[in-house]
């Protein structure tokens, strides 16, 4: 009897082992690399990957988190060695760099999802008759406004124009509240961009080809003058804030509740929302060129399949999964971003309503540094020269704008 029982157990174990071996032999391991999906920025991936694996039991996704700054170091050697990940996250600049070098597969412009992409996004990401990236998001950049502070001072809506910003600064005059965080790098760029570009203004490409000069441009001259207005009206102390780190100190200042406004990206909505008692909204950038504020959209990352992917079919399924609205919306909701597809549902939180309203009214500009209309060297020059401008507002606008023209000329 005992022998029979042992025989049964051995048979069951052997069968289970065989089944597991067969199953594992059939399971495809999909190597995915992304700079989202870690604990700090889960981006809905745990939920989405579980769903994908449930729908595709033969595919086991192995997601490797690689910080964006490390992608430049870790992935090119793999691409060149012919052992790339099966799917990798890319942004517009990597799409161009790796796509031009022939390391990304063409995902096909005849696909259904490509047909549904917004034209503005298509025009940025398509490379000739190829498309190497399935974009995941378009993310907003605008003005974080502490509504708790504003309401205390009788202002019920976030400022959308220069005059309204000045009114906020006036209302906060004499209090211990800092009206605005205007660090020399990114926040200053957002302000100058939102006030130097107009929806019906010159095409951004005209500047980057040297056809139009920044130094002679009325809009950009007016934009720099608007910064002087902010300073004159006591919105911020330029010498104090010029060197403020926009990626750490500036964010902490806003989170502390001691500052009323901060130009930054919507990717901060998540971390600001976790701060207890911080009553804020995400509004479009106040602008002299729009009554409803200027929404500045940045084309975010997407998925690409490397040329030498060992699992191209499973990779294609993975990408197809993210093109479905019910799946993509999970990612967008976690990110605080908009869909790159037409007629997609808006999953942005209510606190971004005014930003959404500006977009709906077409008061929207695709950030030219993300569309690659403006080069990375020009971006660096903007950041540095605007810091210099804040430190010496008496200097003529031409001193700053000429630096941008020189950089464009150098790039050419």
């Amino acid at each position: 009897m005992q022998i029979l029982k042992q025989l049964k157990l051995t048979t069951v174990a052997a069968l289970a082992l065989t089944t597991a071996t067969i199953a594992s032999a059939e399971t495809i391991v999909l190597d995915v690399v992304a700079w989202k999906g870690n604990e700090a920025q889960p981006a809905g991936f745990p939920e989405l990957l579980a769903k994908f694996e449930a729908e595709n039991p033969d595919i086991d996704v192995e997601l490797t988190y690689v910080a964006r700054k490390d992608v430049d170091k870790l992935i090119p050697p793999r691409l060149q060695a012919g052992t790339p990940p099966d799917v990798t996250m890319v942004d517009p600049s990597l799409n161009k760099l790796w796509g031009d070098a022939g390391f990304l597969q063409d995902l096909g412009q005849d696909s259904e999802w490509y047909g549904n992409l917004k034209d503005s996004v298509k025009s940025i990401l398509a490379r000739g008759d190829e498309i190497n990236i399935m974009p995941l998001e378009v993310i907003g950049m605008g003005n974080f406004v502490n509504m708790g502070i504003l309401r205390e001072h009788g202002i019920e809506n976030p400022p959308l124009t220069l005059d309204e910003v000045v009114a906020v600064c006036k209302a906060l005059e004499g209090t211990d509240i800092n009206p605005m965080i205007f660090a020399g790098g990114f926040p200053a760029m957002l302000w100058v961009g939102a006030n130097g570009m107009a929806v019906d203004g010159p095409a951004r490409g005209e500047y980057s080809t040297g056809e139009r000069k920044f130094v002679d441009d009325e809009l950009f001259n007016a934009s720099l003058n608007s910064v002087r207005t902010l300073v004159d009206e006591g919105c911020f102390d330029p010498k104090l804030q010029a060197g403020l780190d926009p990626w750490s100190t500036a964010l902490e200042e806003f989170k502390s509740g001691r500052s009323a406004m901060l130009p930054q990206g919507a990717w901060n909505i998540g971390q600001f929302s976790r701060v207890e008692g911080l009553d804020f909204v995400f509004a479009p950038m106040p602008s002299v060129n729009s009554e409803v504020g200027m929404a500045l959209d940045l084309v975010g990352p997407g998925w690409a399949i490397p040329r030498d992917s060992s699992q191209p079919e499973a990779a294609a399924k993975f990408i197809e999964f993210f093109t479905k609205e019910e799946n993509l919306s999970v990612f967008l909701d976690a990110e605080g971003a908009y869909s790159p597809f037409v007629d997609a549902a808006d999953v942005m939180p209510e606190l971004a309503a005014s930003y959404g309203a500006a977009r709906e009214q077409d008061s929207l500009i695709l950030w030219p540094f993300s569309t690659l209309e403006f080069s990375k060297t020009l971006q660096r020059e903007w950041e540095e020269s605007l810091t210099g401008f804040l430190l010496n507002l008496d200097e003529d606008n031409a001193e700053t704008l000429q630096r941008w023209d020189d950089t464009v000329e150098d790039d050419l």
């Binding site: 430049d72 090119p76 600049s93 760099l97 790796w98 010498k239 200042e253 540095e384 810091t387 430190l391």
Partner: protein
């Protein structure tokens, strides 16, 4: 003769390691510096264009100047403060070991941690330093430490000096430990003051330690990257943009691998030249004493 030749054979492994891990990478970097390589794909030969660009744009010449100024500041002040602490601790054997460990602690910490801590301390709005100064009634001394281009380089240099004074002091303490005690005892018997002993006995005898400490500090500081990057990212408006920040920016910010390689070669030549001159001067000074 045969024995002499076989002695040379023993250097072969070391020479192979040097050739494979030092000389060959430098050759590759130089080779890449003559191209427009973007880090991936084909590299196109551009001749000396990258070097021409470096020496005809004020931006890069300025980066070299800032690197040199920063190095002089750090090397001089760090060595003076380290020598000061080492001399004090040499005279206080009871607290020497504890103090040496305490001084050395910042050098053992991560650059990132130290960089971010000091960034918040230096913050102009509610930073620890300015808040403390205001609380002490020294409002006029509350400055924009990292935001003022005239001040930022000094502020960054201060953090580096604070971080590595202990490391340099340890070198000097080792030098002090090797001083012949009879000389010092004789000086004490002759009635030499503490300052006189330091100036006329210890300093001359510490020349070899000074050479080592100054050389190590100089080479380390010329190549410095972490603190200026974390604290200011080269700003405000390029005031702390040392050569290494420029290299990293071109490498991973702009994907100009060829150009960044040219900058690296310029930096290598700079470090070698400074180190060579410094070594010559310091060794000559050792011989004089």
């Amino acid at each position: 003769m045969r024995a002499k030749n076989s002695l040379y054979l023993f250097t072969v492994p070391a020479l192979i390691v040097l050739a494979v891990f030092f000389v060959y990478p430098i050759y590759l970097t130089f080779d890449m510096s003559l191209t427009n390589f973007k880090g991936i794909g084909e590299a196109k030969d551009v001749g000396w264009r990258n070097y021409e660009r470096i020496f005809t744009r004020s931006r890069y010449v300025d980066a070299v100047k800032i690197t040199l100024i920063y190095t002089v500041l750090v090397v001089v002040l760090q060595n003076i403060s380290a020598l000061f602490f080492a001399a004090i601790l040499h005279r206080m054997p009871l607290i020497r070991n504890f103090s040496r460990a305490a001084l050395y602690t910042p050098a053992m910490m991560s650059f990132v941690v130290i960089g971010y801590v000091w960034q918040f301390l230096y913050s102009p709005i509610n930073g620890g330093i300015n808040v403390a100064l205001r609380d002490l009634g020294l409002e006029s001394f509350a400055l924009n430490w990292l935001g003022d281009p005239n001040l930022a380089l000094f502020a960054v240099a201060f953090v580096q000096i604070w971080m590595f004074t202990g490391f340099t002091a340890a070198i000097y303490l080792a030098g002090f430990a090797g001083l012949p005690s009879e000389l010092e005892e004789a000086a004490i018997l002759e009635g030499a003051s503490s300052w006189q002993r330091f100036r006329y006995i210890e300093i001359p005898l510490l020349r070899p330690s000074i050479t080592v400490a100054v050389m190590l500090t100089t080479i380390g500081t010329l190549r410095t990257f972490e603190l200026p990057f974390i604290l200011t990212r080269g700003g405000p408006d390029g005031a702390t943009r040392v050569l290494s920040i420029e290299i990293i920016d071109n490498l991973f910010g702009q994907y100009k691998f060829g150009f960044a390689s040219a900058l690296s070669i310029v930096m290598l030549v700079l470090v070698l030249t400074v180190a060579f001159i410094q070594n010559k001067v310091l060794r000559d000074a050792e011989k004089v004493t």
